[in-house]
Symmetry: C2
Subunit: 207 residues, 2 copies
């Protein structure tokens, strides 16, 4: 009788994150059940609580993995900086990620999770990594020297792109709102808007 088969899983924490990640990607946040995850991993239903104090902590780890994946997805853009990379392509990459994994995207931006995530956690680091990568791309491409202007551009871009991705996923852009305008045109308007801020002088000249 095998008594020491696999009492200790060995890597349960990461296995939980990976399994929950897959569930989130495919079925969304509400489909995650700690009991079901435990069953899938052939472990008792109390075991997950040795690694995560509660369900939200596990979901925060899933969100972190999501930001890491997003950062990796955006990485190839850096090598194209000197050549043909337009600024709208940076935004497009963001929107494509959101459209490709909408349910994960939703968890990554869930207010409930970060309001309890400790500052220097895995979550914060993953988020900062994405931000820094995008910020560097935008700074380089738009040639924004002033740090204050860069930050304002980043917040504006972040807001516009996230907002559009969310509204699109939530299907809140009703037909009567976009009737007669091609989807490409809508996206073009959003991308143009997202990168429209480049400092006071230019804005005031335009307005």
């Amino acid at each position: 009788m095998k008594k020491n088969d696999n009492y200790h899983h060995g890597n349960l924490r990461q296995a939980l994150i990976d399994a929950a990640f897959d569930v989130v990607v495919e079925l969304g946040r509400d489909a995650v059940s700690l009991r079901e995850l435990a069953n899938t991993l052939n472990v008792s239903r109390g075991a997950p609580y040795r690694h995560f104090p509660d369900k939200d902590s596990l979901l925060a780890a899933v969100a972190s993995k999501g930001f890491i994946l997003m950062s990796e997805t955006l990485e190839p853009l850096e090598s194209r900086l000197g050549t043909d990379l337009s600024v709208t392509e940076i935004g497009k990459a963001f929107l494509e990620f959101a459209e490709g994994k909408p349910l994960l995207f939703q968890v990554m931006f869930d207010p409930g999770l970060m309001l309890q995530a400790v500052p220097d956690s895995e979550f914060g680091e993953a988020l900062e990594a994405v931000y820094n990568r995008v910020s560097a791309l935008v700074k380089s491409r738009l040639q924004i020297e002033d740090e204050m202007q860069l930050k304002q551009q980043m917040v504006a871009m972040w807001s516009t792109l996230y907002g559009y991705a969310h509204l699109r996923h939530a299907e809140m852009l009703k037909p009567y709102m976009v009737a007669g305008v091609a989807k490409d045109e809508i996206e073009k308007a959003v991308l143009t808007t997202a990168f429209s801020w480049t400092g006071k002088s230019r804005i005031e000249k335009c307005v």
Copy 2:
């Protein structure tokens, strides 16, 4: 023994919406429990299901009430159209509503709720009412005649303002992202960006 005291509540449907609305505003979506609502309203725990097929339907009704409230909040802006109303004040009113009732705001824009809301439901009407009101304000103030341009401006504005409100509520605008920039400056940048799209000619001139 009072047998016919109040077997029928009389207005349980609206009472449920109002009670759930209050819970959402104060404690958020997850704090809503159909059982607890039933107890509060002195009704059996099965009664709510005579009015709403499931919990999400009740929350959709709450979201509808939220959009109606938002529309009423925006209504006074119309009378100021001819006088001193700046376009950024329209955006500010939106952001103030979001900041004042963040947990309700979250439910109003919850993807899960509209993906099942039937087209011509109360929800859709309330959303359309808000959209039409804002659209009329923007059209009038920015003097946009072309309907296509108006729609593009609206989607861009909607995205930017919603996105900013959400990121702010989720506390995703970390200190390192906004360090050195006053909150007013951030908001100004967002508002300017939200209304920056006014048609091809102007954009191309600016970029």
